[in-house]
């Protein structure tokens, strides 16, 4: 178990290192440089910035230095001070902008995962135990549909329905009166009342996929001899299904979390853009469009690291749940 954890953690660290390089490359990629962009933004907002100041900023951000020196400086800042660089557009350290939003992003992501599990597991079990029943076909069809409908389209349609039928703006995570209020039960309830929409949107496509996985896994397990044994023992059908095949079918399921996390993150991102959620998605899009690359790089990096950590957690969970892997 220890070895397993060590190995996985090392792999995760290596991945994170590669991610940092990729993120740095992203920062460096755009033509021109972010200072130019920054100046343009200032001008758009009505400010005037003289050339000398641009030169000063170039100096300050070490833009003349070779790539690897810049990378080294950037990484050192992150590791030593948690300094991801400054957002050019906002003029403050990136880290000051991100943490709140990351919290909410993780929250939307986690609640989506929860939603997906709560829906996908029972439905998958049902579909497998009632293979070829009408409901099974229905779920399969909905599953395909869920895979085919892009998140943003679903978000758009929900927004449209919310607006044109109920005259409500379904975007955001809080009602205006709560958005800057301190945490309270009222605010939490308010958050929940908004959260279900992104949860549903992000969850749908993934749910579809997972229902299919769960069903397939279940079908794999449901006729295994150990299930027969359990049945022969005289267990009730309900109990034996949930104790044995579901339990085993969940293992590959847990491991799919690793691969599903990137999808969920993407889903949260694009949905948040449509629904104007105070998560990291709109910030990333804006950073990219205005080429605020320290910000964009930091976001890509943090999202990726979170994903890697999520995958690591799911690996560990899998090891906890599956004795076979634990002892590998």
């Amino acid at each position: 178990m220890f070895q397993f954890l060590m190995r996985r953690s090392l792999a995760a660290l290596a991945t994170i290192w590669v991610i940092s390089i990729v993120s740095f490359v992203i920062i460096q990629l755009p033509p021109g440089d972010f200072l130019t962009t920054y100046m343009a933004n200032l001008r758009e907002m009505g400010e005037r910035v003289p050339e000398e100041q641009i030169a000063a900023m170039r100096e300050r951000y070490g833009l003349g230095e070779p790539m690897f020196v810049q990378y080294y400086k950037w990484m050192r800042g992150i590791i030593q001070d948690g300094d991801f660089g400054r957002s050019m557009e906002w003029g403050v350290p990136v880290s000051m902008l991100l943490w709140d939003r990351i919290g909410l992003t993780v929250m939307v992501g986690l609640s989506s995962i929860l939603f997906v599990w709560v829906v996908a597991i029972p439905v998958g079990v049902y579909s497998a135990t009632h293979q070829y029943s009408i409901l099974d076909y229905l779920f399969t069809f909905i599953g395909f549909l869920g895979l085919a409908i892009p998140n943003f389209l679903l978000a758009l349609v929900l927004m449209w329905i919310g607006w044109s039928v109920f005259g409500q703006n379904v975007g955001g995570l809080y009602s205006p009166e709560y958005s800057n209020a301190p945490w309270s039960i009222g605010k939490f309830i308010d958050l929940l009342s908004h959260l279900w929409i992104p949860m549903l949107i992000v969850g749908t496509s993934w749910t579809a996929g997972l229902i299919r996985t769960m069903r397939a896994n279940m079908l794999d397990e449901i006729n295994q001899p150990y299930v027969e044994t359990a049945r022969a023992k005289g267990l009730t059908e309900w109990r034996l299904v949930w104790k044995y095949p579901v339990r085993v079918a969940l293992n590959p399921f847990i491991s799919t979390v690793g691969y599903a996390l990137p999808q969920i993150v993407g889903g949260v991102l694009i949905t948040a853009v449509v629904l104007n959620l105070p998560t990291i998605g709109p910030l990333l899009l804006r950073a990219l469009l205005s080429q605020d690359m320290f910000m964009a790089g930091a976001i890509v990096m943090i999202l990726s690291i979170l994903t890697v950590i999520g995958t690591l957690i799911s690996d560990i969970l899998l090891a906890v749940f599956d004795p076979r892997i634990r002892l590998e």
């Binding site: 003289p50 300050r60 400054r86 000051m96 709109p282």
Partner: protein
Amino acid sequence: MGKNGLSRRDFLKASAAAAAAVVAARNVPVTSAAPLRQGMYKEAPMLADLVAAGDLPPVEQRLPVNPRVITPTHEVGQYGGTLRRAFKGLSDRWGPVKLSEEGAIQWDAPDPENATLVANYISEWSQNEDASEYVFTLREGLKWSDGMPFTTEDVQFYYDKIFIPQLHTRPGPLQVGLTGEGDEGIMQLEVIDELTWKVSFSTPNPLFVLRFGNDTMGMIAGPSMAAPKHYLEKFLGDADTADQALIDAAMAANGVTTWQELWYESGPGDARGPINFFFRNPDLPVINPWRSLNSPLDDPWVMERNPYYHAVDTEGNQLPYIDGMSHALFQETETLNLWIAQGLIDMQQRHVSSANFTFFKENEEAGDYKVVTWKSATTNAFHPNISHPDPAIRAVFDVAEFREALSIAINREELNELVYSGLLEPRQASPVSGSPNFDPEFETKWIEYDPDRANQLLDDLGYDQRDGDGYRLRPDGERLAFTITYSEALSNMNPDEVQVVTSYWEAIGIQISQQVLERSLLEERNRAGDIEIGVWPVDRSSVVMGDPRRYTGTIDDGCWAPNYAIYMADIVYGDGTTDRPFVLEPPADHPVRRIAELWDQVQKEPDEATRNALFKEIMDIHKEHPYMIGTVGEDPAPVIVKNYVGNVGSGFINDDTMRNVGIARPKQFFIRS
């Protein structure tokens, strides 16, 4: 335009008034109304409570001896309430800033017809005969928002610690209009007494006051030409007055590692760091009607009234009426639009686009607001680059008949209907109808849709041969083909317009391809000077003399003659260096030369009549054969005003030069209970 409330005639009146303002600024000392008697002042209930509790001195002691008296736009208002607005976050500073900035001299318009420059926190100003010296007098008893007196010490502090350091890295606040070279050109300060100071220039600087009206000279939204010494001196890390504990705390809170970064957001000369910009520092003493309560990183960001604000209304009520403002954060303008329709916005002009006019109108009832229209001093325009590095392209564009053909090939009526629901005005890129430089002849130059004549003109220019695809050929056999380069972020100009204009030009046999750039790249390309046809609205067209860079061609996002204009600017201003890859010397008799010379003269000409005549000549060169091909303009600039919000006037000119929303004097807006 009559259909939307403001008639063309109203605008002409406004233009006369704006012209008058410039006259007023010349040499007549402007003094505020006589002080009202003590004991006559009233204050907001929230402040009265504080006074009663002993936490605040009485209103008479907080106001200057002679407070500024502001005549409300419609009526004397009521106290209280929080005005809800929306903003895009820290980078969207101009929304809150323009609502609450306090210059020494400020544009002020009780109604659209009477826009003038008035003394704000100063009681008066004067200038000498050749406009090289200006004397300013503070209102006696003026106080910062923390109750500390505002004196010429604060002016001196600003001059020494903010203005002069800026000069080391930039040639001085551009808009102050420094003339001359080297140190002689620098504005000199002389403090006369506790209330009076004088600035002087080595050469006449008659546009100083005009420019002062739209620039706070480095301290954004601070009092122009002053800074709260008693507070800021503690943050000067290299001075005796430094308070290291405060500096450390501020550095930690803002995630920076040097005290300089507290002052300068991104390098010396950029005095809007986290410590000296009220938007970011709730502790910074201000003289604005509202001060910041939290960080703009918070959502919402809120402002609260300044108990020491220096102005009263005609009945002696201390302003502002509104207790505070609350700015909700949005990422996409779409969200703001939905908030408006849901009635979540009390008053908003910034980010409200006339493209959504119908939507706003239709939801007036649901959102309990009305759409008030102003008038943008803007004309959408296409800019064929007459200074393009490729001589063949220059040869095509720098011919008046060719530009005329381009211009009259555009069906402006249809374009207006198609893209702007007919809300804008077909016009040439020229000063808007409220401007002192308005010229109806210029406005209508080359705007009649006449594709036949356009074709004829092109034929006559020798582009009468066509290739297999129906495109015209240049005499050298090349196809007549150009690229329109633009950005999706075009202020209020709708990118759809480019699609439509493209098809008009294709229809007269010119092949047009499109290139969409991020705004920054557009500017970079423009500075490189190799854009073929640029797209940008011609703004700053109200008090054009206040900021004529569109017409002189020296603004960074204007593209009609970048390479020539910068060459000329170098010659004229003698600064000699430029980082532009292409700087082209204009041909000997090119009008660009004349424009640059004229502008140089205008800036130094103390005599107003002569100055105006010289400036008119610049405009006439443009009128002769417009370089910027205007399409439609005078955007109605919708303003969303909740029905319970009072004193928001309509019909104002919306222009950066006149500080956009600022000209409607937000301090006298009020919320009807």
